[in-house]
Amino acid sequence: MKWVRNLLDNIKPNFEKGGKFPWLHSTFDAFETFAFVPKTTTKSGAHFRDALDMKRTMTIVIIALLPALLIGTYNIGYQHFLSLDPTMGLFDDIWQNLWYGIVKILPILVVSYGVGLGIEFAFAQWRGHEVNEGYLVSGMLIPLIMPPDVPLWQLTIAVIFAVIIGKEVFGGTGMNFMNPALLARAFLFFAFPSSMSGDKVWIAEKADAFSGATPLAEMMTGGTMPSTSILDMIIGFMPGSIGETSVIAIALGAILLLITGIGNWKIMLSVFIGGAAMGLTFNYFGSNPYTQLPFYYHFLMGGFMFGAVFMATDPVTAAQTNRGKWIYGFLIGVMAVLIRVVNPAYPEGMMLSILLLNVFAPLIDYFVVDANIKMRTKRWKLKGGTNV
């Protein structure tokens, strides 16, 4: 790979101060460090460092998202053709389904990455920083939580909003307090509700005669049980956001995140515990059919699973203390089920639940850390310390 290195070394001066394109410095740096991990060495402190860096961390998350992307893509096509011909079998025309899905999802991916990374590069250059890898994950998450028919211009506005207002105004990746991908979805949800809710949007170019209601919508409008079978929910062939439908695909991603240790198991587990606890509470006290729904249905429907694995675990916006993580995850599960069952306006509660807890995560951490501070002050006073 010597020639790549030589090429980079040759054109590098153009992008440095005094070169032809100094305003592209961050962009060049991003591509250079993409090809080669830089030769920077340790200057202070520990003389050697772990080989893991932010690029690899983010890449692992993207790899974990690939199964959901793949099944989501197929499902776009399958749901579309199913709505035209309700007798169609799952594997009747694999290539047609897949091709239709690819044609639908590619523009969404291109817009998400193109717009988002464009803003990231511009901000990095403006600040004189290296381009941060955070958006590589957000750029993949955003398409996966969109309905397949989302208008691209709306998506563009949502991405701009999420990246600038959700992240860059606070200082970029690591400084934001709300999950940018969810913020993009929340923006669309409130700004363009007709593209983000109702029975129409969850199947691409749905035939009008076909119902197309998601299990969540069925439950909210007073169904006794979702019409989709448990098996279909697990494999992922039902209407919904692109990446959220397949429990299996998301579970594969979760396994990768947990084995590598990139995703936090405490948060994942506690979200499910919280959801189950709230579901069981409803089972016990509730009176309408929705409250009587077995709690595990909540994990299978809508974005619960996707949110628990990929959104709640975002380390920047989650609680940062270990104890805080348990509380944070648990409350996400509780709130998600609570919003689903009790709130009459929104069928899905996961998005709002995670955003809500994003806002409260610093407060949770505050109390956890404060307990540590109180312990220390108490120990000091026991030894005769005064004042403060």
């Binding site: 991990v37 340790t42 402190g45 050697f48 080989a51 941060n132 270990n322």
Partner: protein, 457 residues
Amino acid sequence: MSNIITVKKGFDIKIIGEPENKISIPRVVSYAIKPTDFIGVTPKMMVKEDDKVKAGTPIFYAKHNEKILFTSPVSGVVKSINRGEKRVIEEVIIIPDSIQDYEDFGKESLATMNREDVVEKLLKSGLWTLIRKRPYAVIPNPETSPKCIIVSGFDSSPLAADYNILLKGKAAEIQLGVDVLKKLTQGKIHVNVSYEKTTCDELLKLQGVELNKFKGQHPVGNVSIQIAKLDPINKGDSVWYIDAQDLAIIGKLFATGMVEKDRIIALVGNEVVRPQYYKLKFGACIEHLVEGNVLKENNLRYISGSVLTGKTISAEGYLGAYDNLVSVITEGDYYDFLGWILPGFKKFSLYRTFLSGFLQLLPKENRKPVHIDTNLHGGKRAFVMTGEFEKVLPLDIYPLQLIKACIIGDIDLMEELGIYEVDAEDFALCEVVDVSKTDIQQIIREGLELMRKELGE
């Protein structure tokens, strides 16, 4: 009659180049005292270039307390006083005589001496500077007295020297040293040893001390972790500590009246051909240790101290004031093609995103030594990952929060979060595992310095 204390968190990183049990005496052509090794000390010179000195002759004193003297390890001639930026004195170089001549500090029996006599003898001989104080890891004020004194009897850092070898045959000196320490405090003298590694009677049979056996992985050998388990530091407390090998030097002073700053040190690391032990004096030049004993294919980094906390020196550099290790590892100044995505069979990582990371899951006895280099392995970023520091910091402290408090320089918050209980070295493993490649030890060190300047010692 010993306490067994288990420390659960932490990690032993096994690195290629552990020393074999062999002690040589190398040729040393020059010595240096480096004032920068002593935190918070501004040197005031007491000698000029070309002055003749004896072993134990004061070279400079500390500006903040003129009683604290820093003495020459050998007799010889002051060759040069090297200054760095802003004329800060970096090294005082001494060329040794062929026959050593010692200052005489008297052989008065310890039993007849009171605390003032002992303190004065230690200060005059320059051996007071071997004792350090927490918080801040500074040389203590002789007018004060600590709540207890820790004798550090093992090192848990990677490639650490084996204290069984360092202390061999020094039982009498160490015991005398302990008796000296007893004059300095009303509190206990804790001797901290490793449950697994310490076998030498030099430590295990000491009289009049509290023997604590620590079980666990690095940083279990750091005094901060030990103090937190034994008697946590509160605001206003002070705990003194001294290395067991240095305690033998103090013992020897009281036995013979001479300052013999001898240390056994280990030359270690994955670029050393024959890693082994050497007997030499403080501040020795490492030139003849490493000459012909290091591999030549790569650029090398020479470190006085451990690979986690030591200072970079040159191949002709000098051993630091508190170090008993010289580590030599590979400079990582290479480009790594697509290094962030390839499986990584050979890279060092504690994360399982690399296949080699799975090997680190093995119990510490079965871990295979790894090859390390100084590459940063990525660019600096804002903090993103959380929960990783907690795994390697066995203190009841929130590391990320404390680091951030140090960055913003909020001294009230730093105090509340426990800055008094830590030193920069405790965060070395956090720094290693940090995905954002932050220089955490420097941040903590600057935080501590800010505290010390604002609030005094």
